[in-house]
């Protein structure tokens, strides 16, 4: 079966999931909701099918599973957001259409990925500007002490979502050139391999940027995400664990320093260590404490879609930000451990396809790009799900494709487009891989 036909077949489970999910919510709240809801499902499937047809013509050899996996995630997200708020789901569906258009546009414009290599420094600059945009007076927005949003007039977006892609593109292009020098030019001092400063300089800039983010953006989670993506790429490019060790040590020192000096970060860590402390359980710790309570309600199989308690009878929220930061807690509460693990499994499969694409790619830039994008995507999932489940301090990043949010949907569709572009090139028959009979 050809790759595209397999993709088409893989869309079937996504459609079943979507139909079942909407039907479940419709049954649960039939008095409140209109039956128009059921047509959402049909529209959404039509869009997925359109996306599939587009890929059939533009990237016929690309990985057949990534797009259906993303469709599953997006369906899942739409169902849960619909359950939380009907209006938000409508907006999210609009963003999904916009995301698909941007996805198509990216694929059409970047048929040759080497364009990205040529503009690497421009892209790096754009990425840094995007990251610091939220601190620009007048347009920056502060949410829960962290600077993650930008608002211009009625439009508000989270530039960090796009920033992460720009940084990865730059690093992939930069490391493609310098990886040989980094490895060969390094000296061993006391069992530690030190890379040549000249070529390592720009990388130190990235480290500095991650640290500055801690100070300016005040968000441990997103800086962990960026710096983790950077280290992953550095490791893939050089295959030197010592670089990563040095990098992690530097990040740890920096994080520790800022965690104890920047009050916002310090507070997050304090709450993370004991969310139930009476001093803040009803205030700063409310979010994580309520998140855990909601998950405990879920048990093995959950309370059922639409059956979890989101609000107390007097109207106060029992799961703050249920459609963005804490959407994973809502999912666990309603679908239980089984549903939560299913979601993690889908992310894992998607990341696996990403890394596989990186391994199949024939040129260094494509390899680094696919590996970096997959790593940063996986890290984003880890940062938010880990925050909600108290593995790490809770910070506000979105759950890719599932959380409500236009910037998140758009940026992640660009990420998907880049991965598929790499994949199509790598799997094209007649290429190195095709001749060996691999698909």
């Amino acid at each position: 079966m050809s790759a595209r036909n397999r993709e088409l077949m893989a869309l079937v489970p996504a459609s079943l999931l979507l139909t079942a999910g909407f039907a479940a919510i419709f049954i649960q709240e039939s008095e409140v909701l209109s039956d128009i809801s059921l047509t959402y499902g049909a529209w959404f499937l039509g869009l997925c099918f359109a996306g599939h047809l587009f890929l059939r013509f533009t990237l016929p050899h690309a990985d057949p599973y990534m797009f259906p996996l993303v469709a599953v995630l997006a369906c899942f997200g739409l169902v849960v957001i619909y359950r939380i708020d009907e209006d938000l789901a409508r907006q999210q569906a609009t963003w999904f259409v916009a995301g698909l258009l941007l996805f198509a546009l990216t694929i059409l414009l970047l048929r040759d990925l080497r364009v990205l290599e040529r503009y690497r420094y421009t892209i790096a600059l754009a990425g840094l500007v995007l990251l610091f945009l939220p601190r620009v007076p007048g347009i920056g927005q502060q949410v829960n002490g962290a600077y993650l949003g930008v608002g211009i007039g009625p439009i508000s977006f989270q530039p960090a979502e796009f920033g992460k892609i720009a940084i990865i593109v730059f690093l992939a292009a930069y490391l493609r050139d310098t990886r040989q020098v980094l490895v060969q030019g390094s000296r061993r001092v006391l069992f530690v391999t030190i890379p040549p400063l000249k070529h390592f300089g720009p990388l130190l800039v990235v480290w500095g940027a991650a640290m500055l983010m801690l100070v300016f953006i005040r968000d441990l989670g997103s800086s962990l995400m960026y710096f983790g993506g950077f280290l992953a790429l550095l490791y893939v490019a050089t295959n030197r664990l010592s670089f990563v060790t040095i990098g992690m040590a530097m990040f740890a020192v920096g994080a520790w320093f800022f965690a104890s000096t920047v009050s916002h970060v310090e507070e997050r860590v304090r709450i993370w260590r004991d969310p139930f402390d009476p001093a803040w359980v009803e205030r700063e710790g409310y979010q994580i404490a309520q998140s855990l309570f909601a998950q405990a309600d879920g048990g093995l199989f959950g309370t059922g879609l639409g059956a979890s308690l989101l609000r107390s009878p007097d109207g106060t929220s029992l799961i703050p930000a249920p459609h963005t930061d804490l959407i994973y807690a809502v999912i666990t509460s309603e679908l239980g451990l089984v549903g939560a693990c299913g979601l993690i499994l889908v992310y894992m499969l998607l990341v696996e396809r990403g890394f596989r694409t990186a391994m199949l790619a024939s040129d260094s830039f494509s390899k680094l790009l696919a590996a970096g994008l997959s790593a940063v995507f996986a890290l984003q999932v880890f940062v938010i799900v880990g925050g909600v489940t108290k593995v790490i301090p809770l910070t506000g990043v979105t759950l890719p494709f599932v959380s409500y949010g236009g910037s998140s949907i758009l940026a992640n569709f660009v990420l998907l487009a880049l991965l598929l572009l790499v994949s199509d090139r790598a799997r094209r028959p007649g290429g190195a891989i095709g001749r060996r009979g691999l698909r």
Partner: protein, 461 residues
Amino acid sequence: MNAPIARLFALVLVLFGALAFASSWWTVFGAEDLRDNPNNRRVLFEEQRIKRGIIRAADGQVLAANRALSGERYERRYPAGELFSHPVGFTSLDRGRIGIEDFYNDPLTGRRSDPIGALERLLGPRDVGDDLRTTLSPEAQEAAYDGIGDRPGAVVALDVETGAVRALAATPTYDPSDPANAETFNRATQGRFPPGSTFKTVTATAALDSGRYEPGSQVSGENGKVISGTPLNNFGDEDFGQIDLTTALTNSVNTVWAEVAEELGKDTMAEYMRKFGFYDDPPMDYPDEQMVPSGEYGPRGRLLSPTSGQIDVGRMAIGQDKLLVTPLQMATVAQTIANGGVRMEPRLVEKIVDPDGRTIDEPLPEEAERVMSGESAAALGDMMRNVVREGTGTAAALEGVEVAGKTGTAEIDIDAGINTLWFIGFTDRVAVAAVVERQQGGFGGTVAAPIAKAVLEALGE
């Protein structure tokens, strides 16, 4: 570059594994702790969505029902008010649950443990609970409160054959609709009182059932006998001379029973006390936190071993020393003697009924233990009938029904004349214990016996 990519993916697997582990921790293994966390209001809100089962008295009178609130929530209301607050208890967002409301929370909220119930739970939580029919009699409850008045005290009445609790009254009582200000201490199950001479029934059980004494055994009622190295006096320093055991109970002769217990020894006394249920939480369908065991209590409020060297067995035998008992325990003693020596587990609920009126469960009368032989019980019953016929307990006598009983006047402060006053007794059908705490003057026979009589009358005796 493929090897590091593969290793990177392995790291991602580890990280995602950590996420799955954390999720399973919060949803399954650690979920119980989170649900018990005092900051977790979800559990309470969820229970508000359930229409709890109705609790009724034995005659069908509604003791606890629901009032609808906004948003399909329900609030408890207690039409019977203070009369039934101690046995029924309450359920409150702030103060939690007590009483029957707590012990039977699972059926009241519709949780069933049988396989069908478990299957139903998979289909979603039920929102209507099962109803309870208690064994409590409103007339008896009212008679008990009328009798005690506003003095601190308690009354427990048990069905002789089944152990069904017909009355469970304690003062002060409280309004269950206002849990915030409720003084929930239940003197009937948590009150520890010196039993005074009512305990002589336990000593008499040990004496008769061990085969060492008979009702006609001759004993010395001499005043001022030395017990455990100290002279012991009879009430009013009366010297009874040579008498039989029946007379010694009728006139509540201290020196006789103290000497009998010393003869029997600590081990025999401990054996019979254990059989009666002393030293254990009572096996009633009521929360354990609201019941205390009866027995000898040491200086730091801990139960002493019944064979401990600190126990003065002679004085314990007449209800003195460090012996502290609950009214529920003494009612059980009376019930056991009346029931031919078989102690029954006290039961507050006789039937669990689902919202459609089908009976789901009828907790059957449960035999706790045979304490003594039928003959011993019959002989002791005769001796106790004599107490009411011509002894200290005449105030409990009823028209047309023979009542057996034993009075108790435990001296709390001899100089001030403050006593705790007791009566335990039974007819063929009902056993009762009544206590009034720390009264200036009065005797068990003049204060507590009339209360017991009124409760017996209310129960149709």
